[in-house]
């Protein structure tokens, strides 16, 4: 029991701590790739603290509620992940949170926010089926949707599900809002939709979405680590290399449009997952 | 001035511009110059392979000029500008901003005409004084 509460606490703390550090590291590395020095490592924390101290401009109450729901869902999903709970449940809760974010954006009157929300929905449409397929792949391999059963494997999942890992990296690119998939909102707001989805969130509410985003980052990187559970160093390496790859892709590609994303995400993603699943089934 | 200058009247303006178009002249711009208290001069500049040709139209300020934007679409912008700054009205504009291209709706003066008081807020001169 005590063990469990420690895990929950670790899960809840991981978002604001680990997520922030990862984000800071991301910004430094991106700057280095662009021949810049970049911000200090703790920059994301400064940003969030500052945002929390800004004047509260709430466009409507519904939006504030949505942000809180989003944060709650993201934190619960991460905590459940640390509890090694059911994969499908985690995915479901995470998706609900994301929907709340979209609903919050839809509730504002800004056309940028609305268009951003619309695109975010399309993004979800693109990555959610892929996430389910990945879980199905894991189920095929382990015979259960429980993460515990993944832990019990004596061989890294990556060797069995290499294509599904590639698919997961697609999802990661979309979820981390990296080029070429930073459609609905982007880090620097250099976009035709200004800050897209997040245009109307400001001050403390924006800080909350940022923290929720950190939770999601941790959750998805945790997902990646499932592909190498036999050895913690291997898991760390895998996650590190994947994240590095994401930053690299972000820096060498332009932003695409949602039609391309749907075509490419579904086409490539589905094909790769099916190949992998058929391969598993055939053996 | 570089290029050939031809004086025209409002009546044959559209005909001349249509002929320019047939002769594959490219529209460059219009220049409006106030020449006296009652009259302005509008110069139509055209270009074909770096050969300029100008049409000179002298009209009184209160008359309305046919717009050449149906012939040369690009002319709508500069005609709207002249409408704003000199108060000359053009009729038949493809897109008519109705004197709001640069100006706010409530402006009634013609800022570029020397003989009309220029709209100017009094405090803007205070900077100049030491």
């Amino acid at each position: 029991m005590i063990n469990k509460s420690v895990l929950i606490l670790a899960g809840l703390a991981s978002g604001p701590v680990l997520g922030g550090v990862i984000s800071g590291f991301d910004r430094i590395l991106t700057a280095r790739f662009q021949s810049r020095i970049g911000p200090p490592l703790l920059q994301p924390f400064y940003d969030v603290i500052k945002l929390l101290g800004k004047e509260k401009v709430v466009v409507n109450v519904w939006q504030a509620f949505c942000v809180n729901a989003y944060l709650t869902a993201a934190s619960i999903a991460t905590a459940l992940f640390f509890l090694r709970s059911d994969l499908l449940l985690i995915l479901f809760i995470q998706a609900v949170g994301a929907v709340f974010l979209v609903v919050g954006a839809f509730s504002s009157t800004s056309p940028y926010s609305q268009a951003g929300a619309h695109r975010e929905l399309l993004q979800m449409l693109c990555y959610e089926p892929l996430l389910i397929l990945i879980s199905v792949g894991i189920y095929f391999q382990t015979g259960s949707f429980k993460i515990e059963s993944v832990d019990a494997m004596n061989q890294p999942l990556l060797l069995k599900l290499p294509f599904l890992f590639v698919v997961l990296s697609f999802v990661l690119t979309i979820k981390l809002r990296k080029s070429p998939f930073d459609l609905s909102t982007s880090h620097h707001a250099h976009q035709e939709l200004v800050k897209g989805l997040l245009t109307d969130y400001s001050g403390p509410l924006l800080a909350l979405t940022e923290i929720a985003h950190w939770y999601e980052t941790v959750l998805l990187l945790g997902f990646c680590s499932l592909f190498w559970t036999t050895n913690p160093i291997g898991a760390l390496l895998l996650v590190g290399i994947t994240y590095l790859g994401e930053i690299w892709i972000d820096n060498v590609s332009a932003r695409m449009n949602w039609r391309w994303m749907l075509g490419y995400g579904w086409g490539m993603g589905m094909a790769l997952s099916l190949v992998n699943l058929v391969w598993l089934y055939a053996r | 001035m570089q290029g050939e200058v031809m004086c025209i009247s409002p009546d044959n303006l559209l005909g001349e511009t249509a002929r320019m178009k047939v002769e594959r002249y490219r529209f460059v711009t219009l220049s409006c110059v106030e020449i006296s208290e009652t009259q302005v001069e509008i110069l139509y500049h055209f270009d074909r392979e770096f050969q300029l040709k100008h049409l000179r139209l002298t009209i009184s300020k209160d008359s309305s000029v046919p717009s050449i934007s149906p012939v040369y679409f690009a002319a709508f912008l500069v005609e709207n500008e002249i409408q704003d700054l000199f108060g000359i009205r053009f009729h038949g504009l493809v897109i008519d901003y109705d004197r709001t291209l640069y100006l706010e709706e409530d402006v009634k003066t013609m800022p570029f005409c020397k003989y009309v008081a220029v709209q100017k807020t009094p405090e803007s001169n205070e900077e100049k004084a030491p």
Binding site: R32, F33, Q34, S35, R36, I37, W248, I249, N251, V252, S253 | E127, K128, P130
Partner: protein, 127 residues
């Protein structure tokens, strides 16, 4: 598809392009056009700078022997310093630092130079 990769790797491994500005200050170029400085003791109050200034931010009063200058309207073109016959107007290399309050710079000449000035004024004609 990822043609940019060599460029970003070069950036990653090579030196940063960043000038660490407030910590490391690069000296201005030799003829950089910065702030205007008037050595009022040499100034003859001839008024050429005021007449030539495209931004008309300089005002000279011969009788009162004052030279006033509005730094917030100056466009740093350097015409005044170039046309200054007495050499009192100089353009510095460094730019003027940001400020919180706008102010006029009014310099009052020493009376002797003002007297000199009224004697020798006729030479530089206004354009």
């Amino acid at each position: 598809m990822f043609n940019m990769t060599p460029a970003i790797l070069r950036n990653f491994l090579g030196d940063r392009a960043t000038r660490r500005y407030p910590h490391v200050i690069r000296p201005s170029f030799e003829n950089a056009r910065g702030a205007i400085h008037n050595d009022i003791h040499i100034c003859t109050f001839c008024g050429v700078c005021a007449a030539k200034c495209p931004s008309q931010c300089i005002a000279v009063e011969k009788k009162a022997a004052t030279w006033s200058y509005n730094p917030s309207a100056c466009v740093c073109c350097g015409v005044c310093a170039e046309s200054c016959a007495s050499g009192s107007l100089q353009q510095e290399r460094n730019y003027r630092k940001p400020f919180r309050e706008k102010e006029m710079i009014v310099l009052k000449g020493t009376s002797s130079s003002a007297v000199n000035d009224t004697v020798s004024i006729s030479a530089p004609a206004q354009p």
